[in-house]
């Protein structure tokens, strides 16, 4: 006689829904994060086969130790001038974020997104690649654009959708574009830019160029099919691209468990595609720089793509539209075990005798002043609703030339 499931005395099936370790009111719990000591991860030659460096997808590449020294094989041995430049960009980005957040709260724009706590991820990468390389960002790599020297006033014009907005009032705030600065137009849809970065890199290879692409995606959006397409195409065509997963632990209110982050690291996803994969302490400026430089050298040597998980923490809200204390312990950011990227780089520079607290204070003051000056200039053009491009531009750039429908619809609006 065949046994029915009941007779076999099996448990009934149960559906598992992931739950984060701590919700509001719970004690902060980062006990599952056990960072290896700085300097412990080996640094393979760029010519090493991806299959021989799989362990790097499960550890953390770290350079800065507890004493703020740069240690181990990944130490990029950077000129202090480059480190100070990095500190400058990160400090400026934080000042910019703080001001634009306040401007949104004052009703001067509709929306804003900060990158607080993640400044090193974009800043160090921007300094590690060449000026001609193309960045395919998400909405949280503003430090990359600032590092490229893009004017803050133009960023603000975009945020205010004013008459000087480079996007002509068409895009939600922070969705900057600047081809000449190697910055792809930000979509606002999640993940779509990841396989596009691969396509751009394929084009560069097709043309025998030297430029590479740098793509970004959030850990939450790795759940999208576009992530799989990007890795597949990058692997198949050995595209000269750096594919960064910024694992900042939170996708609005959903923790990384909803992208299967509890089951494996995000870097580990590269292994199945035969793509070189690194997991990097994203709050360690030197580690981010070294890993990006390594991946860029591989790409430029026709050795193909690298997937880098930038392990970091979103210290602020997702955007101006959510309050993180409604879904995670309010004090969680202060307990992030990998610290703050600005503080860590500052301490390193102080420890190497290249910086001081007084100098940092001055730098912070200068950053606030630079942001204030840019804001004054942008707000003289106008904030949201006070100033905007001509309404007739609404019908432009749908196609290279408007067809009869768009001409008639523009006439109907009377512009």
């Amino acid at each position: 006689m065949e046994l029915t499931p009941d007779m076999r005395n099996e448990p009934t099936l149960s559906l598992r829904v992931p739950v984060p370790r701590a919700r509001p009111g719970d004690p902060v719990d980062f006990s599952h994060i056990k960072p290896p000591p700085a300097g412990a991860a080996p640094r393979p030659d760029i010519r090493e086969e991806p299959g021989a460096m799989r362990d790097l997808a499960f550890t953390l590449v770290r350079v800065l130790n507890e004493e703020h020294e740069a240690v181990g094989p990944w130490d990029p041995k950077l000129d202090p001038a480059v480190l100070r430049r990095g500190l400058e960009i990160m400090t400026l980005t934080r000042a910019y974020d703080d001001r634009m957040m306040r401007m949104q709260r004052q009703g001067k724009t509709s929306f804003y997104m900060k990158c607080t706590g993640e400044e090193a991820v974009a800043t160090a990468a921007a300094l590690a690649v060449d000026a001609g390389d193309m960045c395919f960002p998400t909405y949280r790599q503003q430090a990359f654009l600032i590092a490229r020297g893009y004017p803050l006033v133009q960023m603000m014009n975009q945020i205010y959708s004013n008459a000087d907005d480079p996007c002509k009032g068409r895009q939600l705030p922070v969705m900057y574009t600047s081809k000449k600065d190697g910055w792809f137009t930000i979509s606002g849809n999640l993940g779509t830019q990841f396989p596009q970065a691969v396509g751009w890199a394929m084009a560069s290879a097709y043309k025998g160029d030297h430029r590479i692409a740098v793509g970004y995606i959030g850990e939450g959006s790795t759940a999208e099919g576009d992530f799989h397409a990007a890795l597949t195409f990058a692997s198949v065509y050995r595209a000269p691209v750096i594919l960064n997963v910024v694992n900042n632990q939170w996708a609005i209110s959903s923790f990384q468990g909803f992208a299967a982050g509890e089951s494996a690291t995000f870097a580990a996803r590269g292994i199945g595609y035969g793509v070189a994969a690194l997991r990097v302490d994203g709050n360690d400026f030197l580690a981010v720089y070294a890993a990006t430089k390594w991946a860029a050298e591989r790409a430029r040597a026709n050795l193909g793509p690298t997937l880098i998980e930038m392990f970091t923490y979103r210290a602020a809200a997702h955007s101006t539209s959510d309050d993180p204390s409604r879904y995670r312990p309010a004090e969680e950011p202060q307990h992030w075990p990998l610290g703050d990227p600005i503080e860590r780089l500052k301490q390193h520079l102080i420890a190497s005798g290249e910086w001081s607290d007084a100098k940092q204070k001055t730098l912070e003051k200068e950053a606030v002043e630079a942001v204030r000056a840019a804001a004054k200039e942008s707000e003289a053009v106008g904030t949201l609703g006070q100033s905007r491009p001509s309404a007739k531009t609404m019908f432009e750039d749908v196609y290279k030339e408007p067809d009869w429908r768009l001409r008639r619809q523009r006439q109907e609006v009377g512009v």
Partner: protein, 338 residues
Amino acid sequence: MPAMNMIQALNSAMDVMLTKDPDVLVFGEDVGYFGGVFRVTEGLQKKHGLTRCFDAPIAEGGIVAAAIGMGAYGLRPVIEIQFADYIYPGYDQLVSEAARLRYRSAGDFTAPITLRTPYGGGIFGGQTHSQSPEAIFTHVAGLKTVIPSNPYDAKGLLISAIEDDDPVIFFEPKRLYNGPFDGWHEKPVEPWSKYDLSDVPDGHYSVPLGKAAIARAGDELTVLAYGTMVHVAIAAAAHAEVDAEVIDLRSLVPLDIETITESVNRTGRCVVVHEATRTSGFGAELVALVQEHCFYRLEAPIERVTGWDTPYPHAFEWEYFPGPKRVAAAMRRAMGRN
């Protein structure tokens, strides 16, 4: 001039453009070594090299996304989606990205992509090899939608599409690849070589996007058609004994509203035909436009003959397909000759 079928004409268009412009490249599933499941890219890899015509992973979203990235770099990719029925995984990249790149970046980035894909029924392809999804693309601001009905136009329109600086969805009526099809499905297939429109020049020429053709001149009634249905409409006119003017729209976006308006205002009667399902089909747009532009000259209600609002059924191909009998009946109703 050589006689070409539609496959050869499309192949020639890509051959001409690959030769002329080093920034043109062709890729898609099975298009490289094998030359595509319908042989449209046959020989292109051998002639132009591995990196200019190559195979792609089975990932329509990835194919479109890669083309967008290439377009942003400055290339002019021509991609093939093996059947229009498989296009949906690429829909987000087309609608949210390719269509809006120029607009959202105020012209900073553009996507000069041509997406070729076989569409339509009449080949016993069932519900996954017969669909006509043109209306879900004409509805999207920023995309152009083109559908040829013969070899000469196929080559000239495809060259125009590749040279266009905006993304173009290029639907190829697969039932017309090897010969015209007028919907009388019991008749033997005739080769294109018997028809004037198979006279296709070897070299470069273009047929402009947004310009319709008069496929059959007539005075009693206007039929608005595209793709396979152009030939069905001509056969239906003979069957109904109606002196119909059959307009081959050739591109749905941009649409040649002037040719449509001139004809319907002259004939006072209009029949709109397409293979796609009826509800919210492109025919609904055409009927609305004719009503807006020609209402006071209309002498009868506008007729619409389309596929039914069902998935495309395998065993009921000829009940589903809007053949000449159904189109002829609509013509006679429009003429008041029931």
